[in-house]
Amino acid sequence: MSGLRTRLASRAGAGVAALSRSVGAGDGSVIGGRVSLALDPGALASLGRGHPAGLVSGTNGKTTTTRLLAAALETAGPVVTNLGGANLPPGLVTALARAGPGAMAALEVDEAYVPRVAQALSPRALCLLNLSRDQLDRINEVRMLAGRWRSAVAAMASTTVVANADDPMVAWAAGTAPQVVWVAGGLAWHLDATGCPACEGVIAFAGAGAGAGSAGGEWSCTAGCGLRRPRPEVLLDGADLVRRSEDGEERFALSVCLPGAHNRANAMMAAVTAAQMGVSLAEAARAVGAVGEVAGRYGVVRVEGAAARLILAKNPAGWMTVFDLLAPGPLAVAINARVADGRDPSWLWDVPFERLAGRTVVATGERCRDLAVRLRYAGVDHVTEADLGRAVTLAHRLRLSQDGAGGPTAAELPDRPVDVVANYTSFQALRRLGRRGGGERG
């Protein structure tokens, strides 16, 4: 039961959130939570009391995995979760203030806030997906962040950490946890994990290049500091999720609606996390597989009459999971560099855009000029159009003109979506455009 101060603080926050919604400023999660936290700095801890929590963090896949975790936990009872990516303490406060008595919480947490949130909530489970370069103007260095995780989990006696054994940064960070379940969650991007986080040695990967979701190969520090891939207890094998123990192995069919190997890995991480919170792994695997869309990712929207499939990719590791999902032909790529994106888009040079050679790319977003220069050096044909709406309609037109002869009939053409890959705030802006332009469909 939360104290009077917290109840008043969260009621004040809810009031401000409702006001924010009514004036159309957003869903009010962040501003409402800020008000609550200003009135009661202990609001997160007191609101969390009585709600067993599963936290999800990592550079990529947080929102999706949290949604999948919520779906798995819902098989056991009511669940509260922070939708819309509000993953800083104010967003968490708002989510928890809405929780009914005894509801479990599935919460996405920003990487940098894991220590603070975990300390406040003493979660039942903490799911650590991956760590790679993203928003370096704020995060600065990946190893510093891994080090902060490592200190935090060492003190978490009542938490089971569900950790990706394929990512050396995560494996090192989770290595101090009193209770940990290692999962072979794959690694899409190796270049932030070459320098050993434990010493100044170098990590060697066997079979480097294994993508996200593929059970990654072994890795170890060549300087002999002892850091090596922990033996995963849970992994993917073909269509199955496999749990190994001393008594042998159990297999569970895992059929995931979301596209891509990385989403199979997210589904596995979510199911294993739910299994630490009282849901059977079989039940969890069924529930995560059934989730069809998460926060507009891969959803089709209509922007100024043009159908567009929205794909989120906000850093090099994210892009590595996207190339194989793209439909052939022209596409639009939207890049912003606001605070939530990271102010420095230099990471565009770590993305192998050379793989788009032969297509036409419409470069858009507030930093379309950075992208245009990158594409020029990559030898990729491109057009620069800063306005998101105009860029999508242009890309759609280009796609239709290439589909032209022998393709679908003229009546079908306008419904064939063009792929639009966007980073965080440009993705949100495109969703807003889509809502204005006739609504999202699944």
Partner: protein, 250 residues
């Protein structure tokens, strides 16, 4: 033409010194040569194997403290020093800048020996980390006539220049070397060192050509209209930010 006659561009330890997109610099040098019809070979030289010594250009990028120290240990054999003595040019950015100097700070803050290619010394700074757009006017004699340099800095260390180097540029906006003298980067012979990311050569094609020209002599101009647009946009954005900060000052 055989590979022996091709110009060689080596990206040094992209797996350790590539955190901030600086791998783009090697790519940019290579493409700018190829666009001019010059035969070029771009070599990625990862950690754990010797850096090729017979090359014309070496690029070192930014990296985290631990990997930077590792890179310095691997380069201590002198391959890069010998290549520079033989006439190669170097572009060293951020951690790369620090490790071509006399010494720099390791992850634990203790001083580590650098390659001593240029007369600079780096230590951990006391102030907040320098993060943001950086604008600087080139002052090094090798960069005479170059337009304003623009890029993005992200570093916690402070680099002091010795008498054996020229500053690359004078800071107009941002922090740069951070030692209180208002300088950014350093130039010594054919070694060009800077804190600018972006990558620096994407935002400053004239610097790319100055670097290439230091070894190959004058080069034909290229169409840099897209980079020019990016430069105009970034310089205008930084100027807006400066005005905003000035207005907020009491």
């Amino acid at each position: 033409m055989t590979a022996e006659s091709a110009v060689r561009v080596v990206v040094v330890h992209p797996d350790l010194l590539g955190t901030y997109g600086d791998g783009g610099n090697g790519m940019i040098l290579a493409r700018r040569l190829a666009w001019r019809g010059i035969d070029v070979e771009l070599v990625q030289s990862p950690s754990g194997s010797p850096v090729p010594e017979a090359a014309d250009f070496y690029c070192l990028g930014g990296g985290e403290d631990g990997p930077e120290a590792r890179s310095a240990v691997e380069l201590a054999g002198g391959a890069l020093n010998r290549a520079v003595e033989a006439g190669a040019a170097v572009l060293a950015v951020c951690a790369g800048f620090q490790l071509v100097g006399h010494s720099f700070a390791g992850a634990d803050g203790s001083p580590r020996p650098g390659l001593g290619l240029i007369d600079v010394t780096t230590a951990k700074g006391d102030g907040p980390r320098a993060v943001g757009e950086l604008v600087a006017e080139p002052v090094a004699s090798a960069l005479a006539g170059l337009p304003t340099l623009t890029g993005y800095e992200n570093h916690g260390a402070v680099t002091a220049l010795g008498p054996g180097v020229e500053p690359m540029a004078r800071v107009r906006s941002g922090v740069g070397n951070g030692a209180g003298d208002g300088t950014e980067g350093a130039v010594s012979g054919r070694v060009f060192a800077t804190y600018l990311h972006g990558p620096v050569l994407a935002r400053n094609p004239a610097l790319a050509d100055a670097l290439l020209g230091s070894v190959l002599g004058p080069l034909a101009p290229l169409d840099d209209s897209e980079a020019d647009e990016l430069r105009r946009e970034r310089l205008a954005a930084t100027a807006r930010l400066r005005r905003w900060h000035r207005r907020r000052r009491p």
